[in-house]
């Protein structure tokens, strides 16, 4: 790892790590008696650990000049390992949280283990830990291949990746301690947010520098999506997290917006995090890995253009559909609803483009679980975007909002679309990156696939049922014109569905564990291939995997 860095880069890395450690020390001292100080200790330990890693490799010989003829994949490897590790951790928490709703006393009577604190650990862990690391890693991989160039230096990708994981650690450890600003999916407090801005700007600069060095005249479609993802997420993150800390030695801050404006900003952020983090970023992944694995070019260039700009333009309008019938002015709600309906067109264009790309390669889908992961992801993407547009309609929303139907919808998207495309990309990447002929066990890939599909379906159907039953019970009147059910009646009715959901979640989690084991064993024991150079196509691991499967 360190041996790939030049002397200058090692020195700079050391300086940065020491600065981070000093920051941590200052935070720890200034914030004594406040959770801020506890986070200072975590930052300090993190910084010192990185210092030790750098010193450990500091005196290894410098890399030779011929490194410049090959891609720089070390950070991609690390990102993949971080991603699947976060997946196992955060999905475990997710399943625990699911059981808590059926059996609320599974908390060991500890404050850090109550539902309200674990829930953001789960959402942040899967979205930012699992998803974010996968996006960063695959974007490093994809942009080098599609630009046919190496990353501009060896240090900045590490800064982005390691810095981003420090943000995730601060976020998740904060929730356990009760540090949160309570904005859904933007819970971390002000100092973590500022740190993320630093990391994200470095990410954007790295991206643009790589594109500037490209040896292809055109920027490939996957890169448009990654670029939209980086740019818009930066804007969303900054605007929604504008806050005033009560002091520079306290974790507590107050968002500068209040009430209805805060609600609109929050859901503008919340829905566009879905749009640009969970959709645009992962579409970038899909637009590279799916055609690559299928061995077919993208079905339609025009559809990818229309889909891309449609998603970039229309998504920004739809956040207000989270606030139907609330105190948000009616005209904003109506705009959100209208654009949500239109949004179906570019969304389905992307899904159709993916599925039509598989024409002529369906036999591969049958035989190759990795490609099947990607195919199922595209199908779930199409399904959940349709469902999203449907739920944004005001009358539907009056039933679905506040119920488990929303939970079903987001999990159809995250389990079915985001996780599946990521697992597909991971199974494509791991043998290639570690120069293996194939995954350690193709059979375990099949197991992972079917556990994931089964888990996602059980989960989503359970929550669809409970959500609709819940919504209907809340609005049912009896013959004398009064409400037929108390709130508690609806809660009792949810119990069997909550158990089914926890079982489905467990299946999905078990799949992730199988995947983690398979990746681990592939890295450790599978047979090596010869290294890949920039002039030829990436090693054809898929073919070998296919032959083994047949």
């Amino acid at each position: 790892m360190i041996s790939q860095l030049t002397k200058n880069e090692r020195q700079l890395a050391l300086v940065i790590a020491v600065l981070v450690a000093i920051c941590g020390l200052v935070m720890a001292v200034a914030g004594r008696g406040d959770p801020f100080g506890d986070h200072g200790v975590i930052v300090l330990v993190f910084g010192v650990a990185v210092v030790f890693v750098i010193i450990g490799g500091y005196y290894t010989p410098e890399p030779s000049k011929d490194r410049l003829a090959s891609y720089y994949d070390d950070p991609v490897k690390a990102g993949i390992v971080f991603s699947i590790t976060w997946a196992v951790f955060a999905m475990f928490i997710g399943d625990w949280v699911a059981w808590l709703l059926a059996y609320p006393d599974l908390t060991f009577d500890a404050t850090w283990a109550s539902f309200g604190r674990l829930r953001p650990v789960h959402t942040t862990g899967v979205i930012f830990g699992f998803g974010g690391n996968a996006l960063i890693a695959t974007s490093f991989h994809v942009m080098q291949r599609t630009a046919r160039t190496r990353l501009p230096d060896q240090l900045s990708p590490w800064f982005v990746l390691v810095g981003y994981n420090l943000f995730c650690i601060l976020a998740v450890s904060g929730y356990f301690m009760g540090i949160t600003q309570s904005k859904e999916y933007a819970e971390p407090e002000w100092y973590a947010d500022i740190w993320l801005v630093v990391v994200w700007v470095a990410y954007l600069i790295l991206y643009l520098r790589t594109l500037a060095r490209r040896r292809e005249p055109h920027i490939y479609v996957a890169n448009w999506y990654y670029m939209a993802f980086i740019l818009v997420v930066a804007a969303l993150h900054i605007v929604n997290n504008l806050a005033l800390p009560i002091s520079f030695a306290s974790a507590k801050s107050f968002p500068i917006f209040s009430g209805v404006q805060d609600a609109m900003t929050q859901w503008w952020y919340g829905h566009n995090a879905v749009a640009f983090f969970l959709t645009a970023g992962f579409l970038g992944m899909m637009y590279y890995y799916l055609p690559k694995r299928a061995g077919r070019p993208i079905f339609s260039y025009r559809m990818s253009i229309l889909g891309f700009w449609g998603i970039t333009f229309f998504y920004m309008w739809v956040g207000s559909h989270h606030l139907h019938y609330t105190a948000l002015p009616q005209w904003v709600q109506t705009l959100g609803m209208t654009f949500s309906a239109i949004l179906l067109v570019p969304s389905w264009m992307a899904a159709a483009n993916a599925l039509l790309t598989l024409n002529g390669a369906w036999h591969k889908v049958r035989d190759d679980a990795t490609l099947r992961f990607m195919m199922v992801a595209a199908v779930f993407y199409g399904l959940s975007t349709f469902e999203g547009s449907f739920m944004a309609m005001r009358p539907v929303n009056s039933l679905s909002h506040y119920t488990d139907w929303t939970v079903a919808h987001v999990h159809a998207g995250t389990l079915g679309w985001n996780s599946m495309i990521t697992f597909g990309a991971i199974y494509y990447l791991v043998p290639q990156l570690w120069k293996r002929a194939q995954m350690y066990s193709p059979a375990l890939v099949e197991w992972h696939f079917w556990l994931s599909v089964a888990g996602a379906l059980v989960y989503v159907f359970a929550m669809w049922n409970s959500g609709i039953v819940q919504g209907l019970m809340w609005r049912t009147y009896n013959e004398s014109g009064t409400l037929a059910y108390s709130f508690i009646d609806s809660l009792v009715a949810m119990h069997p569905y909550y158990i089914a959901r926890a079982v489905g979640g467990f299946l999905f989690f078990a799949g992730a564990v199988v995947g983690f084991y398979n990746v681990w064993m592939t890295i450790r024991v599978a047979r090596e291939l010869k290294p890949e150079t920039m002039e030829e196509e990436p090693a054809l691991a898929p073919k070998a995997a296919l032959q083994a499967a047949e």
Binding site: S182, W317, A327
Partner: protein, 245 residues
């Protein structure tokens, strides 16, 4: 059209700027007017701010992630109004940094929970929800009653909110710690400050039953008991068209 794009996708900065421009349109049209037009938030002259104790309770509500299961936004639908009370107005969360409208009701809406149950009920319920509601799936918050409330940063909190436009006076900021203690200890000398600064209608009582120790339970119950009661605006007949949406 596709020819233009064929050219655009050769320039990374051009592509980046176009993405920013295209993504900005919807955001500006929907969000900017909310800050400028008067109809966004109704006027409510009787609207009052949270006392320091209620604010501390609100922070505990935030810390424990209560918003993940309880909304504080009653929609303009018949069944919601009949179940929870008059629908929520924008003005009621005018001083809420951040708003806690929520997105999920695993438990019921809390926008108008204030005054619905006794303090004793809340204390018992938070201590173990299943003592009061046998089928509840809410976590127990036993630690709240044992844990003393942290008050040393309350003045800073009020000062920060004041900078953001919440009308806390200098006297309120200066006496925040005193008032937090006074509100939960009706017979103490500190209690007088509360009535003079926040009005005689403010709840002043030992919320958790013990006036001698200021606990997190005091704060959270004080907060729950004020929800929906900062203003009476929602109970008054509506005049403007916007209000009946």
């Amino acid at each position: 059209m596709f020819g233009t794009h064929y050219k655009l996708e050769r320039y990374s900065i051009g592509l980046a700027l176009t993405i920013i421009a295209v993504a900005s349109i919807g955001s500006l049209v929907e969000i900017a007017p909310l800050f400028t037009i008067d109809e966004t938030v109704e006027k409510a002259p009787d609207m009052r701010v949270y006392t320091p104790l209620e604010l501390a309770g609100r922070n505990i509500y935030i810390r424990e992630g209560c918003y993940a299961c309880h909304s504080q936004m009653i929609r303009t639908l018949r069944d919601e109004v009949e179940r929870y009370g008059p629908y929520s107005l924008a003005v009621e969360s005018q001083y809420d940094h951040p708003m806690l409208w929520g997105s999920k009701r695993t438990g019921p809406d809390l926008a108008r929970i204030g005054g619905k149950y006794s303090d004793d009920w809340h204390v018992a319920h938070l201590n173990n929800p299943r003592d009061m509601v046998p089928v509840s799936v809410m976590p127990a918050y036993r630690a709240l009653k044992q844990k003393e409330l942290r008050t040393d940063d309350l003045s800073m909190q009020l000062a920060a909110l004041n900078k953001l436009g919440v009308p806390y006076t200098d006297a309120m900021i200066k006496n925040a710690v005193n008032d937090a203690h006074g509100q939960a200890s009706p017979d103490s000398a500190q209690a007088d400050g509360i009535a003079s600064r926040y009005g005689t209608a403010t709840n002043v009582r030992a919320f958790d039953g013990n006036p001698n120790v200021l606990t997190e339970m005091d704060a959270l119950v004080a907060y729950l008991q004020i929800l929906g009661r900062l203003t009476d605006a929602a109970y008054k007949p509506r005049e403007t068209a916007e209000a009946t949406q």
